[in-house]
Symmetry: C2
Subunit: 344 residues, 2 copies
């Protein structure tokens, strides 16, 4: 069944399509026509249930009211939360969100996803990319694409400041008197290629503070498989090991660690990804407060044509995750500070 067209509305209101278009969608539509005409058009539109055909409008004007997101597997609560943040932000602006779960590392699938989105003539495409390798021109050519993710070095995009986050984490541990630190993460394969970067930063940060070399504990498993994390953690905690506190990479890993923690040794756990799953976790573990809503807000702004936003995306932008302890998280006071020097 075909939707109502502008032509039908115009016919019903006894005016020309042009008139109907101007009244219903035109920027100066409200003032351009006589009261009677406008009323007639609006009433006809309401009665018939007219909705503008976006693709047609898009075709004519070149604009679009849909944004694409290419990111990770939604079974990973982190990405679920990220996508939810984008969806909320976009719907506030009456924009649509089109998603694909393909990871940027899977070049073939990623390329295909981009082509599909390109075909939709989307306004722009936001994609998760921790590595920040340069995409082939063939892909980005004539398509506005904005990378987001964690990063530890200046580049275009909207970013969570990885180095800051690691620094905060180490400071958190030091403040509490922990010196023997551990790093708990899924294996370097898979969705989160930047684990290596996190580890490196963690090590150098520890070194800088004169802490002993941290321990790396890696497990096999998808980033959403809590049992994989828990079973590795169980082994880890059974063997005598001197680690006093773990920095966990990803929320599921952290929760696996917490679940396994029923032994004599009870290392502290800091959740690197503070998703709602972590924040509503009974034990109220401390977590890194990732400003995902702010990230979504900025990333979308960077795409929305407001010059400041565009510049923001081009200059690169760092958001600084802060650590919230259980008490703070209870108050629901999510700090979402951004700032610090943006890249030049």
């Amino acid at each position: 069944m075909k939707p109502i067209t502008l032509r039908e509305v115009a016919a019903a209101a006894n005016v020309h399509v042009t008139t109907a278009s101007a009244v219903l969608n035109g920027s100066r539509g409200s003032t351009r026509f006589g009261q009677a005409t406008r009323e007639a058009v609006l009433q006809a539109a309401r009665k018939l249930g007219y909705v503008r055909n976006e693709p047609a409008s898009r075709l004519r004007t070149g604009a679009s009211a849909a944004v694409g997101f290419i990111g990770g597997d939604l079974r990973n609560p982190f990405f679920a939360e990220l996508v939810a943040a984008f969806e909320a932000e976009l719907s506030r602006r009456n924009f649509q969100l089109t998603i694909s779960h393909v990871a940027v590392e899977d070049r073939a699938s990623f390329g295909k996803a981009v082509q599909l989105m390109r075909g939709q003539a989307l306004h722009s495409v936001i994609y998760w990319d921790e590595l920040g390798r340069k995409l082939p021109a063939r892909l980005t050519n004539r398509l506005e694409m904005l990378p987001i993710g964690f990063t530890d070095r200046p580049r275009d995009g909207v970013w969570l400041d990885l180095a800051h986050a690691i620094r905060q984490s180490v400071r958190y541990f030091i403040d509490r008197g922990f010196r023997r630190l551990g790093f708990f993460a899924p294996s370097l394969r898979g969705e989160s290629p930047s684990v290596q970067a996190r580890w490196n930063l963690f090590v150098s940060e520890c070194r800088e503070h004169g802490l002993p070399e941290p321990v790396q504990a890696v497990f096999e498993g998808e980033s959403w498989e809590i049992e994989a994390a828990a079973s590795r953690a169980r082994v880890l905690l059974k063997t005598s090991n001197p680690v006093q506190a773990y920095l966990s990479f990803n929320d599921i890993a952290a929760l696996g660690l917490l679940l396994a923690r029923r032994s004599r040794t009870k290392p502290e756990v800091l959740c690197f990804d503070g998703t709602s799953l972590v924040r509503s976790w009974p034990e109220r573990p401390p977590y890194l407060d990732l400003p995902l809503c702010r990230l979504a807000e900025l990333a979308v702004a960077a795409h929305m044509g407001d010059e400041s936003g565009r510049a923001l995306g081009r200059r690169g932008k760092w958001l600084r995750p802060e650590i919230l302890s259980s008490a703070e998280s209870m108050k629901g006071s999510r700090k979402m500070r951004d700032g610090g020097p943006s890249f030049s």
Copy 2:
């Protein structure tokens, strides 16, 4: 920047747009033109990186390669998994997925979401609706909309068979010798209005098997707030109560219950929503294996124009969740049986 157009490709290949169109996208394109012509067009397209402008194609043909999904909050792992299943199914068909997290119960927002999707001229819209109230004609008018969800009674759509699931659950408990059953769920407000239906079915099923009246334990909280579930569960398990086994409604509720279960009394827990979070849970709790992939497959098929699929959506279709215990889940043998009598 404007994308490459068919016209540009045609120019590069020294043929007419028509020719380029037929070669690149035409159904009989492959045979209609001479080898040389086709080669020229294909090469030019490849070289320029041509991608068909879907909205324009859509406008011309009336077809669309995008499907909308309106469902629940992605922070709820159930919906994250459901959306992931849809995304995977659609991407197999080179379709795009556009999502909105609005719940059908929020009539105003739902209506707005539908209008937005209608404006995108989507192929169709799939929405989660456990209540199955009839939508106003104004909303569904000239737009293919397919409801999905749990249901206990015949109606159009693609459904998870709620009555069957409850029956299975009670049988599961009886087989293991549990007679004093409990029902653990978030409060009736919010995303999951069908909790009441589940409870009613549960009660009547218990009655039918001569079991004592089951106990209802409801907690306040969003469907993804595990602490809300756990803290209620802690209280529940501290007070002496005779419940031997709980049927939990939603995975987070189940996990909250499991987390709280460190007291003397250790009631059995059956997870009603077998998401990947539950399936990868260290304790390997038994769960209802919801055939979400199959649901997505059927729902999409019901929209894809293949007559059988369409009929399927119109006739209504039940999928029957089965219970998998930890052992089975370990083998990864997810039974995804559908069948049983479909509605007439």
